[in-house]
């Protein structure tokens, strides 16, 4: 049984989705339990696989039993299975932690979505949850796969479900954003597909390991040919579109800020991060770091400069925003810059790549924390703009505590994981001699300080929360406001606070942010097991 664990990670949410598809429309109440059971099964499978990985090294799983070198029974006797015959799944310390992060984030968001999804999706709740689980299937599958084309199929699974989750929000700007996202996403995926085609043309295989073997044979003789170079550029551009890297980020802010809060809580922490992971996976497992950082050393400088621009542009645009969610979206653009820059800082001996992978984990939880808070504020206090948050410390102290933890992590204050990831990235930048990257990181941290302390100030010292009423009518899109701030009979803390189903994921995330920070040394050490050449 234990050797089947890798596939169970993907299959559990898939079966969950199918069960909801079959019986969900009859009774909406089955949705949440099915989602939770499916994701918990995945979580257990991930933990099981991860312990195997930490004990014995990378775990391979060959779907259909097409393990290269094995003898398969043929009509006239056994046949040896060639390399790359079937599809390979692979879990190592690089993606094992990411799988864990996906499982935890999706469980938290599904707890957060109880009741909320019913209000946001109304009679389409079962469809919402089916799409939700399919999105999880796609994310797990993308992370776990070791096959270049299978990756494309799973990218499409996640893309189609996320288009739907974004367009489901009854906001016309959200619909337009979804349309742009469809165009950009399809072009990105097509570029990736074309890049894989170029690789296939030169190597005759689709298995990542096998491709790398062929490319690196005889001192990168095939690797140096022009189609492989073009393939690399195409794949990178395709993934950059998907992850909203600097010049190609146009679709992201509107798409994430106008979609329903449950969808944005799932999409914002995971989609871009998994794309960054894919980029790192392609760099390490398909092309190999020697190919990138030695054969084409000039490229890494160019990409780091793009990353620097991304960080600066993201931070500056975040400063200009008045809506909380939009500000967070621009911060995502900046964070993507961190990770891409870190990954391109130089060969994996250095700390940049490890810092980038660690930052993927850290950023997933930081973003989740802040988006959960934004969702709670929007619903409970009808506060979507930053100035609406005034007096929030008094009104919702528990939620605000969670927000503070997330914000401190985003800024990079020591006990949180945000500090350590920045530390590793800066260390990598100094090692690689990319001072512009170091400076950009520090500037962006300062901008984050300004951004979040402005919010803290408004929330702590701001005027009376009664001002929230003014905005109630021109935010009619989020009209489910339960603004029970009656000045006559003061509501108790429990009435003012967000319900438990929102607070549990929030505090869980906050705890993980701190735990990740405390155990950063061990985690990075594990990550480096895979990354180090």
């Amino acid at each position: 049984m234990s050797d089947q664990l890798p596939i169970i990670i993907v299959l559990a949410p898939l079966f969950g989705a199918l069960i909801i598809g079959l019986v969900g429309s009859r009774d909406h109440r089955v949705c949440v339990p099915v989602v939770l059971v499916a994701l918990l099964t995945s979580l257990i499978a991930v933990i099981g696989t991860l312990t195997q990985v930490l004990e014995t090294g990378p775990v391979d799983y060959f779907v259909g039993g097409w393990e290269p070198g094995k003898m398969a029974p043929g009509v006239h006797g056994p046949v040896e299975i060639a390399k790359g015959f079937g599809i390979q799944l692979r879990v190592d310390t690089l993606n094992g932690f990411l799988l864990l992060a996906i499982a935890i984030v999706s469980i938290f968001v599904s707890i957060f979505s109880i009741r909320r999804a019913n209000q946001e999706a109304a009679s389409k709740t079962p469809q919402f949850y089916t799409l939700y689980l399919l999105l999880c299937v796609g994310l797990f599958g993308m992370t776990i796969t070791g096959d270049a084309f299978n990756l494309f199929v799973l990218v499409e699974v996640t893309s189609l479900t996320s288009y739907a989750l974004i367009a489901m929000g009854r906001n016309r700007r959200g619909t337009m954003a979804a349309f742009n996202y469809i165009l950009m996403g399809t072009v990105g995926a097509s570029f990736y597909l074309l890049g894989v085609g170029y690789l296939y043309l030169k190597t005759g295989s689709l298995n990542m390991e096998h491709i790398q073997e062929v490319l690196s044979a005889n001192d990168f003789e095939i690797g140096r040919s022009k189609p492989v170079m073009v393939a690399f550029v195409l794949i990178m551009v395709g993934i950059w579109i998907k992850m909203a890297f600097f010049p190609l980020y146009g679709w992201l802010p509107n798409a994430y800020s106008y979609c329903p809060s449950t969808s944005s809580c799932l999409l914002a922490p995971l989609m871009t991060k998994i794309s960054v992971y894919i980029m790192i996976r392609v760099m390490l497992s398909v092309f190999g770091w020697e190919w990138i950082f030695i054969e084409y050393a000039g490229w890494s400088d160019a990409v780091v400069i793009l990353a620097v621009i991304a960080i600066l542009a993201g931070s500056t645009l975040a400063l200009a925003q008045r809506e909380l969610k939009k500000m967070l979206c621009y911060l995502i653009v900046a964070e993507v810059g961190y990770m891409v820059g870190g990954a391109w800082l130089g060969d994996p001996e250095r700390w940049g790549m490890s810092g980038a992978v660690y930052h993927i984990l850290a950023d997933a939880f930081m973003t989740l924390c802040l988006f959960l808070c934004a969702g709670i504020f929007a619903k409970k206090a009808n506060a979507t703009r930053i100035e609406d948050l005034s007096g929030m410390f008094k009104k919702m102290p528990l939620t605000m505590t969670g927000f503070v933890v997330g914000a401190l992590a985003m800024i990079g204050i020591p006990p949180t994981c945000g500090f350590f990831s920045k530390f590793y990235l800066i260390r990598g930048g100094i090692e690689g001699g990319h001072w512009e990257f170091v400076i950009a990181l520090i500037i962006s941290s300062l901008v984050n300080v300004v951004l979040f302390f402005r919010i803290f100030e408004i929330a702590f010292f701001g005027a009376k929360p009664a001002e929230g009423h003014d905005h109630a009518h021109h935010h009619d899109e989020d009209d489910h406001s339960s603004n029970n701030q009656d000045p006559i009979d003061e509501p108790t803390l429990l009435e003012r606070e967000a319900p438990l189903r929102s607070l549990i994921p929030l505090f869980g995330t906050a705890a993980i942010i701190i735990l990740l920070g405390v155990y950063n040394g061990q985690i990075v050490e594990w990550i480096r097991l895979t990354i180090k050449p």
């Binding site: 288009y163 619909t175 349309f179 072009v187 085609g197 296939y200």
Partner: protein, 161 residues
């Protein structure tokens, strides 16, 4: 000129056309104003990639990748002394493994991949068309600039309040 044609264009004509189609598709996706035109451009872009893949898998003078079961007549003749022993299909096949020359058949792998890509393409088109209908319901137009203008006026109106 003739040499250029013979050496650079002729053997690669498929690839040239795929690049041209791809550029047409990309151009339409970005620059066209009408949303449905954008989607048609997107589909052309995707088919261009499929054209590339299929061109990769072509082998000259090859058959389609369907390999009929080998009814081994020569074996039947050789094993004639096993009187009545090979009335069954299976009895004949116990003999030697039939050698297949893979160069005679087109490469099946790109075909499989492109089946997937076509299906993915139509799924995306369907979802995109649904979004287009939603947009038309909300904005009453299919022109991108008009939609953006409407959003802009709505935005500035909400800021003034």
């Amino acid at each position: 000129m003739r040499e250029f044609l013979e050496q650079s264009i002729q053997p690669y004509f498929n690839y040239w056309v795929y690049v041209i189609l791809m550029m047409i598709g990309l151009w339409a996706t970005i620059a066209k104003n009408n949303l449905i035109k954008k989607l048609i451009g997107m589909s052309i872009f995707q088919t261009a990639i499929i054209l590339f893949y299929v061109s990769v898998g072509v082998k000259k003078d090859s058959k389609i990748p369907i390999i009929p079961h080998q009814v081994e007549e020569h074996h039947a003749a050789e094993d004639g002394n096993h009187a009545g022993g090979h009335g069954e299909h299976g009895a004949k096949r116990v003999t030697e493994k039939h050698v297949i020359e893979p160069d005679k058949f087109a490469n099946p792998l790109p075909h499989v991949l492109m089946l997937t890509a076509i299906v993915v393409g139509v799924s995306t088109l369907g979802v995109a068309l649904a979004v287009v209908q939603m947009l038309f319901k909300e904005f009453g137009t299919l022109e991108e600039d008009e939609i953006l203008a409407q959003i802009k006026t709505a935005d500035s109106a909400s800021l003034d309040v």
